[in-house]
């Protein structure tokens, strides 16, 4: 085992994802503490040019192959299992994304390395990793260690500050030791542009399951109108088809950073918090006093949104 900390690089459309910069920042800090290197592993085809934008890494291992031109769980797993086995890093950091879930679990089972999921913090304690994980939709947290002192962590996006400082990491080129073409990438689909771009709105009135019925949406629409803002939502509202997918905030929706985010009847599952925790002012109304949304809100009220929203709209002159 080495003191190195390995980070799986995720990239799309020729750009490194923010989550990768977040992981590399923490990896560099931890590697400094334990006397190892932060090592970025970059898989792709013709991606050597991206290595320069991974300045927080001490070293970038580039696995360049036409079979890795797009993400494929089987191809990534076949390439990464031998690499992680040979390098034996002390810690592997992977983003808690769809690809990250596939790769992390694949590595864990194939290499018999323990896996700590939904992490929001990773520190070193007595030289070995101590990981804080979210469980039960964010209602419980656990601090865990690896029995053998080393393992894999999937980290929730937004848990660490992104580290994009320029640097000149050593670049190592290697051929993937294995391939597996059982999963073939066919293309990316992008959402159709919506009537409203919620990432550009300064006031978002966001609704979740607590809205109860589709008919109640007119209450939040009236509030959004009087505030000059837009209505956004958590996932269940988009899944129900009550609002278009382009209004969805969160992990598989959009990341927003408005001046004001009113979270109405949104419990605050980790997937939602990922998308809005950096709003300048978060005000949450929820009937459940234990809702995790109150752990990121600046102001909160335990109340029924169906009572407060009409009162607020009336107060604001709607």
């Amino acid at each position: 085992m080495s003191g190195d900390i390995l980070v799986l690089v995720e990239h799309r459309d020729g750009a490194i994802l923010d989550t990768t910069h977040e992981l590399l920042g923490r990896a560099r800090t931890l590697a400094g503490q334990r006397g190892g290197e932060a090592v970025a592993v970059l898989l792709g085809s013709g991606v050597a040019g991206l290595a320069g934008s991974l300045g927080a890494a001490a070293r970038v291992i580039v696995l360049d192959d036409p079979g890795l031109a797009a993400f494929s769980p089987s191809a990534y797993q076949a390439a990464l299992v031998p690499l992680v086995r040979d390098r034996a890093p002390g810690l592997v950091l992977i983003a808690n994304t769809g690809p990250g879930m596939d790769v992390a679990a694949g590595l864990s089972e194939a290499l018999e390395l323990p896996l700590a999921a939904y992490a929001t913090d990773v520190t070193l304690d007595g030289g070995s990793p101590l990981v804080t994980c979210q469980l039960y939709a964010g209602k419980i947290q656990a601090k865990v260690r690896f029995t053998g002192g080393r393992g894999i962590v999937t980290v929730v996006s937004g848990s660490f500050a992104a580290e994009t400082a320029a640097g000149s990491p050593a670049v190592e080129n290697a051929a993937p030791a294995g391939t597996d073409g059982r999963i073939r990438f066919k293309g990316l689909h992008r959402p159709e542009a919506g009537d409203v771009d919620i990432t550009r709105e300064s006031v978002l009135v966001s609704v979740g399951r607590g809205i109860g019925e589709q008919d109640n949406l007119k209450l939040v629409e009236a509030l959004a109108a009087v505030l000059g803002g837009a209505v956004s939502s958590s996932r269940p509202i988009a899944d129900a088809g009550w609002l278009p997918r382009t209004r969805q905030v969160g992990k598989s929706g959009l990341k927003v950073k408005p001046k004001v985010y009113l979270a109405l009847g949104i419990s605050g599952a980790p997937e939602h918090l990922e998308g809005m925790r950096n709003a300048e002012l978060i005000i949450a109304i929820n009937s459940d006093a234990r809702a995790p949304i109150f752990s990121v809100a600046h102001f909160g009220a335990v109340a029924d949104l169906l009572d407060v929203v009409p009162a607020l709209t009336a107060r604001l002159g709607g």
Binding site: M101, A137, I183, K251
Partner: protein, 263 residues
């Protein structure tokens, strides 16, 4: 086409969760259980796929004493599953690695072209069962999927994997395979409680071995488990709805947002 769905029950989040005396787990004394939301989406997808292109749907759940696995499996039958099987014997939900090992063993005797399970569960601290099981059985796997469709020749399946920003990747996957389902094309169908009760008395729920309650373990040591500080950083506003509205209006006014924009 033989579809296999893996399901489990998890603590009901509508109830207050409490930490046990040791401070490293949940207090299970009064805990109530519900089907894991994402597993229900996986079952609905399997039933939809069978309806459109034929085949069988077999549901597997671990034989866990806590909660009511018989009710979970009877509900699967009420919704239209062809066969339900209880795997192994466990006091409570085991860790994901142990669950994956038990399901992997069970699949030896169960035909499976496409295995579907929830992309995640609220209690899978050591990772998601789907990709762990798939790797154990050398099945290709994709997590966070929607839009599952079986290819015309029945040898492949296509699915969308969700990324941030509403972007999705489309994949073609050789069968047999495993998919971690994010959501179903329609809301999970309703199963009348009376029908579930009746099936619990009359239906056949098969049982097969699955590691006999032991397993590889998670390789994790839980040092502590805790409820994050109530309210966290939020300053709580109390009072009538009007008083709450008044305070929120004041907070907005401090930031130059005064309403009346619609006029």
């Amino acid at each position: 086409m033989d579809y296999v769905v893996l399901l489990k029950q998890v603590p009901d989040l509508a109830e207050e969760l409490e930490i046990d005396a040791a401070g490293t787990g949940l207090d299970r004394e009064w805990m109530s259980f519900v089907a894991s939301e994402w597993d229900e989406y996986a079952l609905e997808e399997a039933l939809q796929l069978r309806e459109s292109s034929g085949g069988t749907v077999t549901c597997l759940a671990l034989g866990v004493e806590a909660g009511d696995v018989d009710e979970l499996l009877a509900t699967c039958l009420a919704r239209g599953a062809d066969r339900v099987v209880k795997v192994g014997s466990f006091e409570q939900n085991p860790d994901s690695h142990t669950a994956a090992a038990a399901f992997a063993e069970a699949l030896d005797g169960i035909p499976h072209d496409l295995v579907l399970t929830g992309v995640q569960a609220i209690d899978d601290l050591d990772g998601q069962v789907g990709p762990l099981l798939a790797t154990r059985r050398n099945l290709p796997h994709v997590s966070v999927v929607t839009h599952i469709a079986v290819g015309g020749d029945g040898r492949t399946v296509t699915a969308h994997q969700e990324y941030a920003g509403g972007v999705v990747g489309e994949f073609e996957i050789d069968l047999p395979a495993l998919l971690g389902v994010q959501t179903s094309r329609e809301a999970p169908r309703y199963a009348p409680v009376s029908r579930v009760r009746q099936l619990m008395k009359t239906a056949t729920i098969e049982s097969i071995d699955g590691g006999g309650g032991s397993g590889p373990g998670s390789g994790l040591v839980v040092e502590s488990m805790f409820v994050p500080a109530a309210g966290g950083t939020a300053e709580m506003i109390t009072g009538t709805p009007q008083a709450i509205a008044e305070r929120i209006a004041a907070l907005l006014a401090e930031r130059g947002i005064s309403g009346g924009a619609a006029r």
